[in-house]
C-alpha cells in the first residue's frame, strides 16, 4: 500500500495502462511537455514520447472527433478536456458519435475511449472553471459516467475505464487533486465500473453523494453523529450504469434519503436518484426523499462570499439531513 494524492493516482493509472497497452494514447491541450494544467500527465511525454502523448490545438470537438477515428482504427485514446466547462463544443461528437456508434452500427463498430474531464467547484474558478456537467452526460445511453472521490477509486476506476470496450466519461474533481491523500493497493488493481460504495454505515438516513460531495457528506455525518443521528453515506462512484441495488438497499435500511450534489438542483442527477427511490422503495420511506444541491443560478459566482454561498458544505448538508430526519 502506498499513500498517494488523488492527482497522483490518476497519473499512475495512465502511466500503468500506457505501459501495459501500447494502443493507449493520451491527447489534449497542454498534456505534453507541460504535463497538463493540473500536472496530471506530468512526465508521460518524456516517458512515452510525442506519438503517445499528443498536444492538440485548442479544439475540443476535434479532440473527441479525432479520438473517435483513432478508436475505429485500433487505438485506445484517452483524451483530456482541460476543464469540464469547455467540453460543450464536443457535445455533438460525444452524444451523436462516440456514445451511439455501437448501437447505430448494430455492434459492427464500438468506441473504446476514456474522456478525462477535470470538473467541479470550490476552486475559485467562477462560472467557467467550476461547472458540473454530469447530468448532461449521464442522460446518454451508450456512455458510462464515473466520478471517483478517493485516490484508490481514482486509480482503479481509470484503469477499468481505459480497458472498458465502451466510452467512459471520467470526471475528476479539481478540488480533490491535492486535497486528499489515501492508501492505494499495490499492483495492477482495478475498481469495477458500476458498484457504489457505502463509506459510512448508519441507521437514520442515507446520504447519496459523489466526487467532492462524498467528502462533505462524510463530514456532515460526523456533525450529525454528535446529535445522535447516524447517517449512512453512499458514494455512488459510477453514475451510469447506476448501482440501483446499493441505493435501494440503503434506503431499505434507513427509510430516509438525502441526495447531495454541487450541480444545479433542477434536472440534476439527484432527480434520477430520487425518482428511483420513489418508484422502487416507496414503501420503505418515512420522509420525502430530498435533494440538497447547488442553487439554480447559471454558474458558480467568483468572489469568495459568492462561492461559499454556492457550494454545499458539511454544516448545510447536516442541516438538510436534520430536516429529513425530523420530518
Amino acid at each position: 500500500m502506498a499513500e498517494r494524492r488523488y492527482l497522483d493516482a490518476i497519473h499512475d493509472a495512465l502511466q500503468e495502462e500506457m505501459t501495459l497497452d501500447e494502443r493507449v494514447i493520451v491527447l489534449g491541450e497542454d498534456v505534453g511537455l507541460k504535463g497538463g494544467v493540473f500536472g496530471v500527465t506530468d512526465g508521460l511525454f518524456g516517458q512515452f514520447g510525442g506519438d503517445r502523448v499528443i498536444d492538440t490545438p485548442i479544439s475540443e470537438s476535434m479532440i473527441i472527433g479525432v479520438s473517435f477515428g483513432m478508436a475505429a482504427n485500433g487505438l485506445v485514446p484517452v483524451p483530456e478536456i482541460q476543464f469540464a466547462d469547455f467540453i460543450h463544443p464536443a457535445f455533438n461528437q460525444i452524444l451523436s458519435e462516440v456514445a451511439r456508434v455501437r448501437y447505430r452500427s448494430n455492434n459492427d463498430y464500438g468506441c473504446q475511449m476514456t474522456i478525462r474531464v477535470p470538473w467541479g467547484g470550490g476552486v475559485h474558478g467562477a462560472l467557467y472553471h467550476s461547472q458540473s456537467i454530469e447530468a448532461f452526460y449521464a442522460h446518454i445511453p451508450g456512455l458510462k459516467v464515473v466520478v471517483p472521490s478517493t485516490p484508490a477509486d481514482a486509480k482503479g476506476l481509470l484503469k477499468a475505464a481505459i480497458r472498458d470496450p465502451d466510452p467512459v466519461l471520467y470526471l475528476e474533481h479539481k478540488k480533490l487533486y491535492r486535497l486528499v491523500r489515501g492508501e492505494i493497493p499495490d499492483g495492477d488493481v482495478t475498481v469495477p465500473i458500476g458498484p457504489a460504495a457505502v463509506r459510512r454505515p448508519g441507521r437514520d438516513l442515507s446520504i447519496f453523494a459523489y466526487g467532492l460531495m462524498t467528502r462533505e457528506a462524510l463530514a456532515a455525518a460526523d456533525l450529525l453523529s454528535h446529535d445522535g443521528i447516524e447517517a449512512e453515506v453512499v458514494d455512488l462512484r459510477t453514475l451510469r450504469p447506476l448501482d440501483k441495488t446499493t441505493v435501494l438497499e440503503s434506503v431499505a435500511r434507513t427509510s430516509r434519503a438525502l441526495v447531495v450534489h454541487e450541480d444545479n438542483r433542477f434536472g440534476g442527477f439527484g432527480a434520477e436518484i430520487i425518482a428511483t427511490i420513489a418508484e422502487e422503495a416507496f414503501a420503505h420511506l418515512d420522509a420525502p426523499p430530498t435533494r440538497f444541491c447547488g442553487p439554480d443560478v447559471p454558474g458558480v459566482p467568483f468572489a469568495q462570499p459568492f462561492e461559499e454561498w454556492f457550494m454545499p458544505n458539511p454544516d448545510r448538508i447536516a442541516k438538510a439531513a436534520r430536516a429529513v430526519v425530523s420530518y
Binding site: I25, D51, R52, T56, P57, S59, S61, M62, I64, G65, V66, S67, F68, G69, M70, A71, A72, N73, G74, L75, P77, P89, N92, Q93, S96, E97, R100, V101, R102, Y103, R104, S105, N106, N107, D108, Y109, G110, P141, G142, K144, D164, P165, D166
Partner: protein
C-alpha cells in the same frame, strides 16, 4: 503541388477530357460499370420509395462520376472510406454490393450498416473499411483525421478518404479537421461534393468564396477544384492526392463540382426554391452522358460492351432488390441490444 496552391478548374462545357495517361481500357470500363450501377441503384431506391416499400431516399444522382472517380484512386482493400448520405457510388466501389444498399434502403434486419436502426443513406460496414456514419453534418472529417492518425502511429500505410457536401463546410468541424490534419500531415483526402445547394440555400448564401477549395490555403494544404462531370479529371486529381497522402506529405482538400439532379431528399420539393430553368440546366450537366460520349470518342465503349454492362447492371440491381425484399424485418425484441458492448453479432458470430 505546393502547400496552399489552389488549382481551380472551370466547368468545361462541351469540351472533351483528354484521356489521362495510365488508365487502361479495363479500368475505364470498370469505372463506367460503377457509374451506371450507381445510377441504376439510385433510381431503384426511388422506385422502392414511391411504391411505399422504402420510407426515405437521399440521392446521389449527378454525383456518380465525382464519387467513382475519387474512390477509384484508393487501394480499395487497404484504405478507409468515411462517406456521407449521397455516397451511393462511393460505397459501391468500396465493396458494398447492391443487395447491401437495398437492405439498408428497406431497413431490414440484415442491413449491414445498422440492422434497420438508422435512416437509409447512413452507410458503414467494417468489412469494407467503411466507417459508420451519422446524420449531424461534418463530424466525419474529424473521424478521418483520427483514422489517419492511427494509421500513422501504427504505421499501417492506410489512407483515409472522406466525403461531404459543400453545405456542411460551414460547420466548425470542417475547419477543425483541416487544421489538425495539416498539423500532423495526415493521410486524408477531404472530398467536398459541391452541388450548389445546402438543401435549399445556394452557395452564394453559404460562403464568401467562389470555391470551397480556397479554404485550403488558410490551413496550408493543397486545395483543388475539379469538374465532376469529367471522371478522369476527378480520378487524376484524387490519384495525386492519394499519392501525396501515401508519401506522408499530408492531406488534400478536393472539391468536385457536381449537379444535383434530384431534390435534397424524398421529403423535399426543390421547385419551391430552385428556378425551373436551373433544374433543367443541371440535367444538361448529368455526368453520365458526358462520360459515355467520352468513352465512345476514345473508342473504349462500343455498342456491344455498353449493352453487356447495361445487362449486368440490370441483373445485379434486380437480384439485389430481390435479396433485400425477401430479407426479414428487424425484430423489436432486439432493439435494446448493443447499447453497450456485447461479445456476439446479430447473427450469433463472435464480434
Amino acid at each position: 503541388m505546393s502547400a496552399g496552391e489552389i488549382r481551380a478548374v472551370k466547368t468545361r462545357e462541351g469540351e472533351r477530357t483528354p484521356r489521362a495517361g495510365g488508365v487502361s481500357d479495363a479500368d475505364l470500363l470498370e469505372m463506367y460499370y460503377y457509374v451506371r450501377l450507381a445510377r441504376a441503384v439510385d433510381e431503384r431506391m426511388w422506385v422502392l420509395q414511391r411504391s411505399g416499400k422504402a420510407a426515405f431516399v437521399i440521392s446521389g444522382q449527378g454525383h456518380e462520376c465525382a464519387q467513382i472517380g475519387a474512390v477509384f484512386a484508393l487501394d480499395r482493400e487497404k484504405d478507409w472510406l468515411i462517406p456521407y448520405y449521397r455516397s451511393v457510388g462511393s460505397v459501391l466501389v468500396k465493396g458494398m454490393p447492391p443487395a447491401e444498399i437495398f437492405l439498408i434502403q428497406l431497413s431490414k434486419a440484415t442491413d449491414p450498416s445498422s440492422g434497420g436502426r438508422q435512416m437509409p443513406g447512413h452507410y458503414g460496414h467494417s468489412q469494407h473499411k467503411i466507417l459508420s456514419t451519422s446524420s449531424p453534418l461534418m463530424t466525419q472529417f474529424l473521424h478521418a483525421d483520427g483514422v489517419a492518425l492511427a494509421a500513422k502511429l501504427r504505421r499501417t500505410g492506410e489512407v483515409c478518404m472522406t466525403e461531404a457536401g459543400e453545405g456542411s463546410t460551414s460547420e466548425g468541424d470542417f475547419h477543425e479537421a483541416l487544421n489538425f490534419a495539416a498539423v500532423h500531415k495526415l493521410a486524408v483526402i477531404f472530398v467536398v461534393e459541391n452541388n450548389g445547394y445546402a438543401i435549399s440555400v445556394p452557395v452564394s448564401a453559404q460562403m464568401g468564396l467562389p470555391d470551397v477549395s480556397a479554404h485550403a490555403a488558410g490551413y496550408g494544404i493543397p486545395g483543388v477544384t475539379v469538374d465532376g462531370s469529367h471522371i478522369l479529371d476527378v480520378y487524376t486529381a484524387a490519384r495525386e492526392a492519394v499519392a501525396r497522402a501515401r508519401r506522408g506529405d499530408g492531406p488534400t482538400l478536393l472539391e468536385i463540382k457536381v449537379p444535383r439532379l434530384t431534390g435534397h431528399s424524398s421529403d423535399d420539393q426543390q421547385d419551391k426554391y430552385r428556378p425551373a430553368d436551373e433544374i433543367a440546366a443541371a440535367k444538361q450537366h448529368d455526368p453520365i452522358p458526358v462520360f459515355t460520349e467520352e468513352l465512345r470518342a476514345w473508342g473504349v465503349l462500343t455498342d456491344a460492351n455498353e449493352r453487356e454492362i447495361a445487362n449486368r447492371v440490370r441483373r445485379e440491381v434486380d437480384l439485389g432488390t430481390e435479396v433485400a425484399e425477401t430479407a426479414p424485418a428487424p425484430d423489436p425484441a432486439t432493439a435494446t441490444r448493443y447499447v453497450y458492448y456485447e461479445a456476439d453479432l446479430p447473427d450469433g458470430r463472435p464480434r
